[in-house]
């Protein structure tokens, strides 16, 4: 026969001061771990969710990101024109564009220095990005003009990013004429005309080619063919693959940090839970004696104590999540170590974070309850009854 569940609920309630303190101690632990995970999710999802499967990125073979990839202009153009898998628009122009990219030194509103991604694009880029990007303030830059548009996330964080401001790139001043919004990771970038940027930044050539594939093309087969191509060798990735490859380092650090904190703080939380349950056991020895005397077997008593500990853990997990919820959506910035630029992203409490937080909390309860439950089950009825 199992010990009724209401017994556990009541005993948690009777010792409410102790229950509350334990629940909050576990809650704080869960909150820290969940907070770090939410940070990782916010960062990684910004890249992976927006990455498109129908767009591909061509890089120089051997390079891992745009920064260290470079094409000569001729090569880039040749690539655009000779790869049959690239889709065409109505005018038989390839749906592809050359882009240059550089992490430039800028100053934050708060004064410190940071690195911002600057991208030179061609008119075709806006066709490729149709529906993904919207000018929310001002207008787009004129092709061939020394004008730029800035991602909305930059406006209040980086100096000189309001309409009418001037961004000096080496010796050339560029005028900010518009602000664009997007859900994609380039929300923290500055965009301008490719040729003007190449000239102002004295770059040798574009860094990547972005193209839309003919529907039904297998990107992997294309990647394999072009890697060893004699004319235009290139490393080909779908945009989604490319963007998720750019999150690896920071994600790895954050996941490691979450796990590290989880283990270390978890140990302390388990100790706390054990203490609470031990004191619950001490206070209830007499009752356990009665249970045993009335015919309850040790296994149900063990289970009952475990259940109570799990409940403690679950409550702690709930409190932890409640403590973390207010940070959901809060914008923050961090260095993406892959691109060496600062990106803005929000903490995101995704279902994955919630599930992990609850599982973590239950594990804490389980581990914390094990010893007291085992002790409770091993009590002999006479001895237990004798204790007051």
């Amino acid at each position: 026969m199992l010990v009724p569940f209401s017994y556990n609920l009541r005993s948690l309630f009777v010792r409410r001061a102790s229950t509350l303190l334990t629940v909050f101690a576990i809650g704080a632990t869960v909150a820290v771990v969940a907070g770090v995970l939410a940070l990782q999710q916010g960062f990684a999802l910004l890249y992976t969710e927006s990455g498109r499967e129908d767009l591909v990125v061509f890089l120089r073979p051997g390079s891992t990101n745009e920064g260290d990839s470079i094409f000569s202009r001729d090569r880039g153009l040749k690539l655009m024109k000779t790869v049959p898998e690239i889709a065409m628009d109505e005018g038989q122009q390839p749906l592809a564009s050359l882009e240059c990219y550089l992490a430039v030194r800028r100053f934050k509103m708060t004064g410190g220095e940071t690195n911002v991604a600057i991208r030179g694009v061609q008119p075709m880029t806006f066709t490729l990005r149709e529906g993904e990007l919207e000018i929310v303030e001002g207008r787009n830059f004129q092709p061939g003009a020394d004008e730029v548009i800035v991602g909305r996330k930059l406006v209040d964080r980086i100096q000189d990013c309001h309409i009418g401001d001037v961004i000096q790139l080496n010796t050339t001043p560029f005028k900010v004429v518009g602000v664009f919004a997007t859900d994609a990771s380039f929300d923290s970038e500055i965009w301008g005309d490719l040729d003007r940027m190449l000239q102002a930044l004295k770059r040798y050539g574009p860094n990547r080619v972005l193209a839309k594939l003919v529907p039904g093309t297998d990107p992997e087969a294309l990647a394999e063919r072009l890697l060893s191509d004699r004319e235009v060798p290139a490393k080909v990735l779908t945009e989604r693959e490319y963007l998720s490859s750019q999150t690896k380092q920071l994600s790895k650090i954050l996941v490691f940090l979450g796990a590290f904190l989880g283990v270390i703080m978890g140990i302390a939380a388990v100790f706390t839970a054990t203490n609470t349950m031990l004191s619950a056991l001490a206070a209830r020895s007499h009752e356990i004696g009665i249970l045993l005397a009335t015919g309850f077997r040790p296994v149900p008593i063990f289970l009952s104590f475990m259940l109570e500990a799990l409940l403690l853990g679950l409550l702690g997990g709930g409190v932890g999540i409640l403590m973390t919820l207010p940070i959901n959506g809060i914008e923050t910035g961090a260095m993406n170590f892959n691109t060496f630029t600062e990106v803005a992203f929000a903490f995101r409490i995704t279902p994955q974070v919630l599930v992990r937080a609850i599982l973590f909390a239950l594990t804490l309860g389980l581990l914390g309850g094990a010893l007291p439950a085992w002790r409770a089950a091993r009590l002999s009825p006479t001895e237990a009854l004798r204790r007051t």
Partner: protein, 386 residues
């Protein structure tokens, strides 16, 4: 009274142990977290202000023309200039990565007296065209000895035939201040430049000019004069003092100090609640004892002191053990972090902060139950069954 404290704490050995254990863990974690921040900032503090870094004003990924050197040298107040270029090669395979820089060997050692050669010699390094200087930790990692040949496979600066760059180990250095870490590899600019000139890439550019200013020279006009030189291109430069550059670099990492503080706050809250919990439980079980003692004539104040002392004893034991553990673990953590986080070292400030936090938790956690105990009426206390 102390004996009573010890008696009460050892009455529930397991509980006391668990409480001490969680404090050990918490203080250990707090020390490590804070050290991450202080280590980041250590580079800033060690930086000498008579050194300026001249880099592209546009981007850290843009290099400067070699011809800038002579012009910078001619600026009033400049004593010496050292060219520095990030080499970005790897040893054996792509995973064995560490920082390598081509530098003007002689000037570099003059400008950085913090870099001290402990094996091999300066003369040997300067005399060998392909000689290199390697940090102690790096040499230990790969078991390199003076005279060893070290081939590096270039990623950024490839030779036309794709062959590896050869180096010979001429010196192992230690640093007296963390301006550089001891996992870096330095070699001669001339070797770098001559080799690159023979390739189709041609003459290399310079990533950074490290400028030493003349004794007593005012930094500000020197920096302004250098920046002014290249105001109209071809590449604009930005001069900063070494300390400022290090600070900027930390700033580029984003809001790390804030994240660490938030996490530390969570740790503190969790551990504080756990301690309060233990103390309340302990006090509740002692209600009867307290009643008896009061009946025997012990004052309210002495009861307050007894319970606070118990809390302090537990917390201080746990806290000190945790700090000690962090200090003991420091070399291993530093090793594990490797070149990713060089110079990991727990400062005296962190240690003292840890001690202060321990004492604080001890006092605060003890206060509530101690106050309750001091107010307890002995009749009531004696009636208590627990």
């Amino acid at each position: 009274m102390l004996r009573l404290v010890v008696r009460n704490l050892t009455k529930h050995k397991l509980r006391s142990l668990l409480t001490v254990g969680s404090l050990v863990v918490a203080l250990f974690l707090l020390c490590i977290l804070r050290t991450l921040v202080t280590t980041l900032e250590a580079g800033t503090q060690a930086a000498k202000s008579n050194r300026l870094w001249v880099q592209s004003a546009v981007s850290l990924f843009v290099d400067l023309p070699l011809a800038y050197e002579a012009k910078i040298d001619a600026v009033e107040g400049v004593e010496k200039t050292c060219k520095v270029q990030w080499f970005g090669a790897y040893y054996q395979n792509e995973d064995s990565f560490f920082g390598q820089f081509a530098v003007d060997g002689d000037t570099f050692l003059d400008i950085y007296p913090e870099v001290v050669i402990v094996a091999g010699s300066r003369a040997g390094f300067l005399a060998n065209r392909i000689g290199c200087l390697v940090g102690k930790a790096l040499a230990k990692k790969y078991k390199w000895e003076i005279g060893d040949r070290i081939p590096l496979i270039a990623a950024l600066f490839q030779k036309d035939d794709g062959s590896a760059w050869d180096f010979e180990l001429e010196g192992i250095y230690e640093v007296t201040e963390p301006v550089w870490d001891d996992r870096t590899f330095f070699f001669h600019w001339d070797y770098f430049e001559k080799t690159m000139e023979a390739t189709t890439t041609g003459q290399p550019d310079v990533g950074t000019f490290v400028v030493q200013t003349r004794q007593g020279a005012d930094q500000v006009p020197v920096m302004a004069a250098i920046d002014q030189l290249f105001e109209h291109g071809p590449q604009r430069v930005q001069s900063t003092t070494e300390a400022d550059f290090q600070a900027q670099f930390v700033s580029m990492m984003g809001n790390i100090p804030f994240f660490v503080a938030a996490i530390g706050g969570g740790v503190l809250l969790a551990i504080f609640l756990a301690c309060v919990n233990t103390m309340i439980m302990a006090a509740r079980e002692q209600t009867r004892d307290i009643g008896i003692m009061k009946a025997l004539g012990f004052t309210d104040r002495s009861m307050f002191r007894l319970l606070t002392l118990q809390s302090m004893t537990l917390c201080v034991t746990g806290g000190l053990l945790g700090i000690g553990l962090a200090l003991l673990a420091e070399p291993w953590i530093a090793h594990g972090m490797g070149s990713f986080f060089p110079g990991f070292a727990i400062t005296a400030g962190t240690r003292d902060l840890g001690i202060a936090l321990t004492l604080g938790i001890g006092v605060l956690a003890g206060i509530v139950p101690a106050w309750q105990a001091s107010r307890l009426r002995c009749v009531e206390a004696l009636r208590s069954m627990e």
